[in-house]
């Protein structure tokens, strides 16, 4: 390997710093008392505490799923801090009251907290450890009836909406991690787009896990009423710790008649070092319900960071003529493991879904696509197109595809395409022989490979994703 490549391999994770800020955390471990404590700290209404306790009791009866193609030591759920928040906790009336240390952290991460600096027109909700720190542009959005706030604020200010939709897409007992999240979730983002409103700016949430040994369990709920539309972006980073941190989020999307939700994620949690030490365990349940006719939910994700990714953003296509889309790039390097994909559940008539999944494996990593396309008996005229491409870099990594197709209606049309390719030494030598250095060569190959997904990302995310993938892969060929 050349020196330049060697240096690039050892390039540190640039978001791996820890912010020196006093945090208030509940003791490690999980029990009904801890849940009551969390609920109390957050001044929650009784019904929400009940929701949590019910989820917790259900969770106790459940088994950690073992069907995914990932291996990790058993998680000790009593060794996790379930709630950590920056101190002091007081009501923040304006941006200027945010802890300056915290503000510097987000500036370092490139999240613009100052509204004055917000030239890009993106409204941001920032989640630090478990607590939503601030939501920008809130007032401006409120003028046209859009609610964009932290989940805690939504519980306080719009309890009826939360009560109506919480758990309506991902029930509290849906799966092991969703149940855990339902029991202990601490904060997250809430977004409500009223009837006929097109959200004039992209809404964005930035997640950051800071405290060592803490888990992050955020909850996101997005509701798009009849004829409305919204574009939502999610970014994630974490500091570099030797221990593994658990991230078990739940995201629920509801689209009513003719509504349109576009949800994009660039996930760059800390992946652990090249020997697989440390990193985030990312067990996330994301699901969208196309409840109304002609509704549309589109997931775009770029997954690069976690030590383990277990994530299947899905669409339940209930309304007739509704559309579900999934565009994904999942990259694994070193000893990372990813088992990710989607589920498209066709229930209504003439529902359509499209899956474009690109997996890139490098180092000694293991990258699996797992997908389900299910067409119910009433879903006449349903259509699905799936394309799953894998790219291998080097000869010690693994790529798998596990597509499941379950069709119960004879009028459905299902297409599935798959390919596997490899970036090898010969390709790199070819680029070099044409005067193109390894950095640019990898970036060009990866961009070409991911093109079909990147076009669905908002511009600034696409640029970031391109750089991120290049950075993650440099040095993996050579």
């Amino acid at each position: 390997m050349s020196t330049a490549l060697h240096n690039l391999v050892n390039q540190p994770y640039k978001h791996g710093f820890v912010t020196d800020i006093e945090t208030e955390a509940v003791p490690k471990g999980l029990s009904e008392d801890v849940i009551r404590l969390i609920s109390k700290k957050k001044n929650e209404p009784e019904w929400l505490l009940e929701f949590r306790l019910q989820a917790y009791r259900h969770w106790l009866t459940m088994e950690e799923p073992s069907w995914a193609n990932v291996n990790y030591p058993k998680i000790d759920f009593q060794d996790i801090i379930y709630f950590a928040q920056p101190k002091p906790k007081k009501q923040l009336a304006s941006m200027d009251e945010v802890d300056p240390e915290l503000r510097r952290t987000f500036e370092k991460l490139g999240v613009p907290l100052h509204e004055q600096k917000l030239m890009t027109g993106v409204a941001v909700d920032v989640i630090f450890d478990s607590v939503s720190v601030t939501t920008t542009y809130k007032a401006k959005l409120a003028e046209i009836g859009i609610i964009f706030c932290s989940f805690s604020e939504a519980v306080r200010d719009y309890p009826d909406l939360v009560k109506q939709y919480l758990g309506s897409v991902v029930p509290s007992g849906d799966n092991f991690y969703a149940a855990l999240n339902s029991a202990v979730f601490t904060d997250g983002s809430f977004c409500f787009i009223p009837k006929g409103t097109k959200c004039p700016m992209d809404l964005s949430t930035y997640f950051r896990i800071n405290t060592e040994g803490s888990g992050q369990f955020e909850r996101t709920l997005i509701i798009a009423e009849e004829g409305s539309s919204v574009c939502y972006l999610e970014g994630c980073t974490a500091p570099q710790f030797d221990t593994n941190q658990l991230h078990a989020a739940v995201v629920e999307l509801v689209a009513l008649d003719n509504a349109d939700i576009k949800y994009s994620t660039v996930q760059n949690w800390y992946a652990g070092d090249e020997n697989g030490k440390g990193g985030i365990y990312n067990f996330v349940t994301k699901r969208g319900l196309c409840k109304g006719i002609n509704s549309k939910i589109s997931w775009t994700q770029v997954e690069t960071g976690s030590a383990i990714t277990w994530k299947y953003p899905s669409c339940v296509l209930l309304g007739d003529n509704s559309i579900g889309e999934f565009y994904s790039v999942a990259l694994t390097n070193h000893l990372q493991q990813a088992d990710t994909g989607t589920k498209m559940i066709h229930v209504g008539k003439n529902t359509r879904s499209k899956i474009i999944a690109k997996g890139i494996s490098a180092g000694r990593s293991n990258n699996s696509y797992r997908g389900l396309v299910k067409v119910g008996s009433r879903a006449a005229g349903a259509r699905n197109y799936s394309q799953c491409d894998s790219m291998l870099i080097g000869d010690r990594c693994i790529a798998n595809t596990f597509p499941t197709i379950d069709v119960q209606n004879t009028t459905a049309t299902i297409e599935h395409e798959a390919s596997t390719s490899k970036i090898g030494e010969d390709q790199m030598f070819f680029f070099a022989q044409r005067g193109i250095g390894s950095e640019e060569a990898i970036s060009m190959i990866i961009n070409g490979f991911c093109k079909d997904v990147f076009v669905h990302l908002p511009m600034e995310f696409a640029v970031e994703a391109t750089k991120l993938l290049g950075l993650k892969l440099e040095g993996s060929v050579g």
Partner: protein, 256 residues
């Protein structure tokens, strides 16, 4: 065209190289001046493809002795991409496919990298389009090839023409064609040869590595070298190639 006063482009002395611990080149000497066309012939395993890969800097091959200077620079002190930017071009025997990367994007990046290396202006996509349209004519390629992924789904002949298109765009000082004629039908051979001929000038040089005399009917060499056992064992003019065609390689080995 031989002109003893022209500049020395490449001077290789006593070059030794190995791959996977096996010594393949055992002392190659070769001098190439601008304006010259060389052919290197020899049986399989004689070292001729190794020779071209070593010059281009393929990472699998290790130089174990000897020197090579390219326009006065120590070739082996340069990384493969630096050699390319210095004007050394290798047309591959087996061109690789690069899925998802369009031919035009690759050509433009390679071209602009060279331009900036030479302190010249880089071209934007529209300006480059004009340039590349002209170059397509050199290899009689359809413009639709520009939008396709590099070599993906190309026939053997199309891949080889694509190599020559890259050569036309990059205008190297020294082009090494590694068995560019293999797998070509007679029409494709003629197109490739015409392309190469049109790119020859008194300022550059071409080395053809080939098994067969056939290509040399179209691109007439000034020198023909025969490699055997990792060395150049005989050098002659184009008549040497004809003689090899008629008599095979054995008579030469017996003589040597």
């Amino acid at each position: 065209m031989i002109n003893k006063d022209s500049k020395v482009l490449l001077e290789v002395k006593n070059l030794r190289a190995e791959v996977g611990g096996v010594q393949i080149l055992k002392g190659v000497d070769l001098t190439i001046r601008t304006g010259e066309v060389h052919a290197i012939m020899g049986i399989n395993g004689s070292g001729k493809s190794t020779f071209s890969k070593v010059l281009a800097g393929h990472p699998d091959y290790a130089v174990t002795g000897g020197t090579a200077s390219f326009e006065g620079k120590d070739l082996f002190s340069l990384e493969p991409e630096e050699r390319a930017r210095a004007g050394l071009f290798l047309a591959f025997q087996y061109p690789v496919e690069i899925p998802g990367v369009s031919n035009s994007a690759l050509l433009r990046l390679a071209y602009n990298t060279l331009q900036s290396e030479r302190g010249l202006e880089e071209l934007d996509p529209l300006e480059f389009e004009d340039l590349v349209q002209e170059k397509l004519k050199v290899v009689e390629m359809d413009p639709s090839f520009l939008g396709r992924s590099v070599n993906e789904g190309f026939s053997g002949g199309e891949k080889k023409r694509n190599e020559i298109l890259q050569m036309a765009v990059l205008a190297p000082r020294l082009a090494i064609l590694d068995e560019t004629d293999s797998g070509l039908d007679i029409d494709a051979l003629r197109i490739v040869a015409n392309g190469v001929n049109s790119l020859l000038s008194p300022d550059n040089a071409v080395v053809m590595v080939t098994h067969y005399q056939r290509l040399l009917n179209y691109i007439v060499p000034d020198y023909v070298h025969v490699m055997d056992g990792g060395r150049i064992v005989r050098t002659g003019d184009k008549n040497l190639a004809l003689e090899l065609e008629a008599r095979g390689y054995d008579w030469l080995r017996a003589a040597a």
